[in-house]
Symmetry: C2
Subunit: 240 residues, 2 copies
Amino acid sequence: MEKYFDQHISRRFNEELEALRSHVMKMAGTTEEMLADAIAALVEGDTEKAEAVIAADDQVNLMEKRIDEEAMQILARRQPTASDLRLVMAIVKTVNDLERIGDEAEKIARVAIVLTESERPRNNYYELENMAGHVRTMLRDALDGFVRMVPEVAVSLFRADKKVDDEYEAILRQYYTYLAEEPRKTSRILNAIWIARSLERIGDHAKNIGEYIYYLVEGRDVRHMPSDEKEQALLDDGKD
Amino acid sequence: MEKYFDQHISRRFNEELEALRSHVMKMAGTTEEMLADAIAALVEGDTEKAEAVIAADDQVNLMEKRIDEEAMQILARRQPTASDLRLVMAIVKTVNDLERIGDEAEKIARVAIVLTESERPRNNYYELENMAGHVRTMLRDALDGFVRMVPEVAVSLFRADKKVDDEYEAILRQYYTYLAEEPRKTSRILNAIWIARSLERIGDHAKNIGEYIYYLVEGRDVRHMPSDEKEQALLDDGKD
C-alpha cells in the first residue's frame, strides 16, 4: 500500500512536470508564430496581421505569469531536487526569455505598422526577412532541443547566434551607408535598424534557451564562458 | 527583513539566506557603479574608464552564475516554502535583470570608446548624462527597496520608468532631427541613439526588480498589468 501510494504521488508529480513542460512548449510555439507573423506583416505591409501580433503579446505575458505560478506551486508542494529541480529552474528561466522574445516580436509588429506609411524599398526588406528566417530556425531548434532534451542544441545555437550577430553587423553597416547617402529616408532606415536589432536580440534569447537545456541535461552552467572555451566545453561534453 | 528570518529554526538557513541577499546587493552595487562609470567615460572621453567597465562585466556575469548556484543549493537542501521560496525566486529573477543591466552598461562603455574618435557635441552629451542620472536613481531605489523590503518601491519605480520612457522618446525625436539635418554626423548620432536605448532598457530592468520586490512582499504578481490597472493595484495595496 505504502509503495503504491508513493508511486501514485510520484505519478502525479510526473504529470505536473509534464503539464509544465507542455505549457512552455505552447508558449514557445506562440512566440515563434508571432515572429513569423511580424515579419510577414512587414513584408506584406499588412497592418491587420501586425495588430494580431501585438494582441498575442498579452497572451504570452499571461502565459509567463501562469507558468511561473505553476513552477512555484511545484517547488512549494513537491520540493523537487536534482534533475527535477533543474528542470523547474530551467523552465522559469526559459519562460523569461520567451516573454522577451514576445516583446521583441511585438516591437517588430509596431514598427511594421509605421513602415506601411513609408515607400517600400526596392528589395522589400529582403535582408530582414532573410535574417528573420535564420532567427526562426534558432527558435525552432531551441524548442526541439527542449522536447528531445538534447544538450547538443546548445552548441548549434551558440554557432547559429554567432552567424546571426555577423549578419546583424553587416545589415547595420549597409544601413549606415544608406543613412549617410539618403538623409530623406532617415526615418525608414532607422525603423529597419530597430527591426534588425530586435531580431538580433531574439537570437540571443534562443541561444540562452540552449544554455538552459544544456545546464538541465548536463548539470553544468556554460553561460558567459569566453567563446572559444565555451565551444570547446560544449564539444568535449558532447563527445563523452 | 527580520520577519523572514525569525521564523527559522535553523540558524544556518538564516545565514544562507542572508549571504544570498548580500551577494545580490553586492552585484547590484557593481552594476550601478558600472553605469555611473560608463557615462563618466562618455562625458570625459575616458577610454581607460570605459575599459574598466567592460572588464567589470565579466565579474557581474560570474556573480550571476554564483548566486544562481547558491539559490539552487538552498532550494535543494532547505526546500523553502512560502515567503522564503518567494525570496529565493525573486533573487533568481533580480539577478537575471542585474546581469542584463551589466550588459547594457558594458555596451555604453564600448560605444563611449568609439565616440572618443568623433568630434564632441557642443553640449557634451548632456541629455544622455541627464537621462543616466534618472536611471541611476531608479537603480538605487530598487536596491534600497530590496534592502528595506518595501513594496511601495514598485509604485515609484513604475512611475519613474514612465518618465524615463518619455525622456527617451524626446531624445530620440531630437536625434532623428539631427540625423536628417546633418548626415555628416550620422555615425556619432547613431552611437548616441544606442546609448539612449541602453539607458531606457536599464530603466525597464530596474522597474522589473521593483515588481519582484512587490511580489516577494505582497505575494502578488503585477507584471504586465495594463498601466492604469497596475498603478491602481499597487496604490490600493499600498494603502492596506
